[in-house]
């Protein structure tokens, strides 16, 4: 992973130039030259990558065509049963089919992504570098149904060894987060949020420890959520991840274990959790720019079985 902070790079640069015969000296940590941490909202990134694959049901076909290096159009077709939220314990599914049209504009400084579906849902995302350190991110979901549309904007400030973020959202949502590198491997952070619509506020803390072999994170929030995750990189191709989530309010406990194999021609992710849910996602590269996807998920408790296959054409 390219985002891994390599601790020796920062410490070797600050080694005293005066030659000393005592070699077995502990590498001194220069606390003024700590690496920049990753954003607070992404501290579980590696764990989520392997434990939350995009599982789907039915058929999916994605086609992306780049018109020029910066602009691309995408078409995708989704067919299959979709779940309807209901009170009964049994899941109710109805068959649906969607077509989604999208446009992407990608530039190092500006990223615009738009998606529109045949049922009238519109998704838009903007990421814009306002200056070297200040990034504006915005996302919007618009639907025909009332009170389901929402807009969100955030300003990220990237410092030398810290990051902070301020968030504004529809429904009078305000949030702020801050994360600071404490040692080359450890970073600590916190967040506060307030929603005017539900008259709720909360506070959360997070910690992340990473080196080139493993990543361990922990997060606690006043909503009662406790999340611990651990990712071990066994080799360049294989990483194993585990996660533990406890919710104090609903007394829900979930433990998940998963693997992520990145092989030459395919990528395979699998997960199993304590709710009796097993899932796997296989992304097979058939040719350059042509991927075949197989997805499987079994929920033993709900007797819900989801299988899907798909194709991705173009980058």
């Amino acid at each position: 992973m390219a985002t891994f902070i390599s601790p020796p790079a920062s410490t070797t640069a600050t080694q005293p130039t005066g030659l000393k015969p005592t070699v077995i000296e502990k590498e001194k940590v220069d606390y003024l030259n700590l690496p920049c941490p990753i954003p607070y909202e992404e501290i579980h990134r590696e764990a989520f990558m392997s434990l939350k694959p995009e599982l789907f049901e039915g058929l999916r076909f994605d086609f992306t065509k780049g018109l020029n290096p910066k602009f691309a159009l995408s078409h995708s077709v989704l067919m299959g049963p979709t779940e309807i939220p209901s009170q009964s314990p049994e899941t109710i599914k109805i068959p649906t089919a969607h077509y989604e049209f999208g446009a992407n504009y990608l530039d190092p400084k500006l990223m615009l992504v738009g998606r529109i579906m045949t049922d009238g849902r519109l998704n838009a995302r903007i990421k814009c570098d306002l200056s070297e350190n200040l990034i504006l991110k915005s996302s919007a979901q618009l639907t025909n149904e009332p009170h389901m549309s929402n807009v969100m904007a955030s300003f990220d400030y990237k410092g030398k060894d810290y990051r902070s973020q301020f968030q504004l959202g529809s429904g009078a949502l305000f949030g702020a987060s801050y994360i600071q590198s404490v040692t080359p491997n450890l970073s600590l952070g916190g967040e506060v949020f307030w929603t005017g619509q539900h008259r709720k506020s909360g506070i959360g803390y997070g910690a992340r420890y990473n080196n080139d072999k493993m990543v361990a994170t922990g997060q606690v929030a006043s909503t009662g959520m406790v999340l611990l995750s651990y990712v071990q990189k066994v080799s360049e191709k294989v990483s194993l991840a585990s996660e533990f989530v406890y919710n104090h309010m609903s007394k829900d406990v979930t433990a998940t274990f998963g693997y992520d194999y990145i092989l030459r021609q395919c990528r395979l992710r699998g997960k199993i959790d304590s709710n009796g849910c097993v899932g796997a996602l296989l992304e097979e590269r058939l040719n350059l720019g042509l991927n075949f996807i197989l997805s499987a998920e079994i929920d033993h408790r709900k007797k819900d079985y989801k299988f899907g296959f798909g194709m991705t054409v173009g980058e």
Partner: protein, 108 residues
């Protein structure tokens, strides 16, 4: 259970003499052994059935879980191994510096 109660109930109801009581007791004692055996057999059958049922269920869960979680992994690992072997063979046959990476995309 039914035979036990059926035999005893009329004896109690019609105030019998001593002999009748004794014979009834004897018959009830002899039948209690049969009854115990019956009950034990019944219980054993019930437990066995339950055990078989739950074993079957557990096997089903385990098998389906392995099918999703492990089988794809084994298949892909096996194929990766074969690819590597094939490449090694190619290298041995064609000399030290063939470009096999071109076929399989960028090297890892």
């Amino acid at each position: 259970m039914a035979s036990f109660g059926g035999k005893r109930a009329p004896a109690n109801r019609s105030r019998p003499d001593r002999r009748a009581v004794l014979s009834a007791r004897a018959s009830s004692e002899s039948s209690s052994i049969v009854d115990k055996g019956k009950r034990a057999a019944c219980n054993a059958a019930y437990v066995g059935k339950k055990l078989l049922n739950s074993t079957g269920k557990a096997t089903w869960y385990l098998a389906t879980t392995l099918l999703i979680f492990v089988v794809p992994l084994l298949i892909t690992m096996d194929r990766e191994q074969q690819l590597e072997n094939f490449e090694l063979q190619n290298q041995a046959l064609l000399g030290p510096a063939p470009p096999p990476q071109q076929v399989h995309g960028p090297p890892m």
